[in-house]
């Protein structure tokens, strides 16, 4: 199962690497959103610094929508999904593989955005370990939820519009938790960032588990 998952993840990441869509479009979009927040908050440094964590995560979630849509667009093109289905790979492996691929893309995006908030918002990292751990937990949780709902939405005729309204409410706890953990790691809010990271990890575990179980139901319908 895990070997197949690695195969799927490798395939997705190779396609992304060759097409450069994630790097060439999603990453610039994310940086653009950071800049827009700068305009919206009137380029006020204390405010930007205070909300750096929250703005960072809103940007990540918006970019996640694009990444997930992209992850399924490559499947529906050229009947690629039929190949995947006929290859005999278990749905659970497809789910885990796609989740891994999206997680890695989100993690790369987080690194870019992290540099972005340091440069643009003057954020200072006080606890790098917490930052990385929380970022990784949130990336996996968000990617798992995104992959699951992405499959749901990809089967419908209104996939572009249905994905955000399904996915974003579900990700509310991720946004809250990751923002709090980052607030602690960036020294902006006095909270226990590790407790929040625990919540993020629990969310990730729940969604990975549920997705592994439920993906078969959803994959049948393509």
């Amino acid at each position: 199962m895990f070997r197949d998952a690695l195969l799927v993840a490798g395939k997705d990441l190779r396609i992304e690497w060759r097409s450069r869509v994630a790097l060439g479009q999603v990453a610039p979009f994310a940086l653009l959103v950071l800049v827009l927040f700068g305009f919206a908050l009137d380029a006020e440094r204390p405010a930007l610094l205070r909300f750096a964590g929250g703005l960072f995560w809103v940007t990540v979630l918006l970019s996640l929508l694009l990444a997930v849509q992209r992850a399924y667009a490559i499947e529906s093109a050229d009947g690629a999904i039929d190949g995947l289905r006929r290859s005999g790979i278990e749905p659970a492996s497809v789910f885990l593989g796609k989740t891994a691929a999206v997680s890695i893309q989100i993690a790369v995006l987080e690194v870019l955005l992290g540099i972005g908030i340091v440069v643009l918002y003057d954020a200072r990292v006080e606890s790098p370990v917490l930052l990385v751990t929380a970022g990784a937990a949130a990336a996996v949780g968000a990617a798992a939820a995104g992959t699951l709902y992405g499959a749901l939405a990809a089967g419908t005729r209104a996939r572009e519009t249905i994905l955000p309204i399904l996915l974003l409410p579900v990700l509310a706890p991720v946004l809250i938790g990751a923002t709090r953990a980052f607030g602690d790691a960036l020294g902006a809010t006095a909270v226990d960032g590790w407790a929040w990271t625990g919540l993020l990890a629990a969310f990730a575990a729940l969604y990975v588990a549920f997705g592994t179980l439920a993906f078969g139901v959803l994959l049948e319908e393509w």
Binding site: R157, I162, L199, L218
Partner: protein, 275 residues
């Protein structure tokens, strides 16, 4: 058991009519209790001599509290129905889940709006981010709005049912997580803790709350039966392919006489089947 003529083309039956009548009578009685018999919530603080309590605003509670409890009940029923859809692939349970999801979302919306209307004069604000139940209920509402929009996207009924079932189950699973995260997020709550224990509650107030719960439960049940039948009819239409035949008939009616004349033989063939 057959109905009288003229009422056959509805989703009503004798049972729903009795239930509907009980609902109307119940709402009338509830109105009398809520606005007449039950007193305002006012007590004299012994030390300061000031009047405390919600005053007449407690009358909003008779609709707000039952709606809140019932919205959670209906959305849970939606989750149960969804689990049955995935387990048994049951069309019947899918209709139950759909109806319960729709009514639960409606009640959830009413809970939010009546709560805000109550909060404005009581807390001095329409919305309080620090309140756990408020924020959790809003996220739940948004989750199920998504569920209903997903259901509205046309497609193969069985696939729609399965997809929707996954969304509903996940939505209900999210409630504890959302609740916990909001609780930690703003570690304070404005909400009336348990009104029953913390405040001295007037007998008639308690009775009216219970009555409100009973009446709105009946109303919800009545709505669910009708909503179920509507879903069932839609399923029937879709399955028997009547849909296509009806739209064809409608098109014929629109084009009217011209179409009838243009057809070879000039006859009106109303029972023409779609190829």
């Amino acid at each position: 058991m057959n109905e009288t003529t003229g009422s056959t083309a509805t989703t009503g039956s004798r049972a729903t009519r009795v239930l509907g009548l009980a609902c109307l009578v119940g709402l009338g009685i509830l109105g009398v209790f809520a606005f007449g018999i039950s007193p305002e919530d006012a007590r004299i603080e012994e030390v300061s001599g000031e009047t405390v309590g919600q005053g007449d605003l407690v009358r909003i509670m008779y609709v707000h509290v039952p709606m809140a409890i019932l919205s959670y009940a209906f959305l849970s029923l939606c989750a149960v129905g969804s689990a049955m859809v995935l387990w048994r692939r049951s069309r019947w349970w899918d209709h139950v889940a759909h109806g319960a999801g729709e009514i639960g979302t409606l009640f959830c919306g009413i809970t939010l709006v009546t709560g805000m209307i109550w909060g404005r004069p009581t807390w001095g604000t329409w919305w309080e981010w620090g309140d756990v139940r408020l924020v959790t209920t809003l996220v739940l509402f948004l989750l199920f709005v998504g569920y209903l929009s997903l259901r509205r996207v046309p497609g193969d009924p069985e696939l729609v049912a399965r997809r929707a079932a996954v969304v509903a189950l996940l939505g209900v699973l999210m409630i504890p997580i959302v609740n916990r995260s909001v609780e930690w997020w703003e570690n304070r709550t404005l909400h009336q803790q348990s009104t029953l224990t913390e405040m001295r509650i007037e007998d008639w107030t308690l009775f009216t709350l219970m009555l409100g719960f009973l009446v709105f439960t009946l109303v919800g049940a009545w709505m669910l039966v009708h909503r179920f039948r509507v879903a069932w009819l839609e399923g029937e239409l879709e399955r028997s392919g009547l849909d296509a035949a009806i739209s064809e008939r409608r098109a014929e009616a629109l084009s009217g006489v011209e179409a009838a004349i243009a057809r070879p033989g000039g006859g009106a063939g109303p029972a023409r089947e779609v190829p």
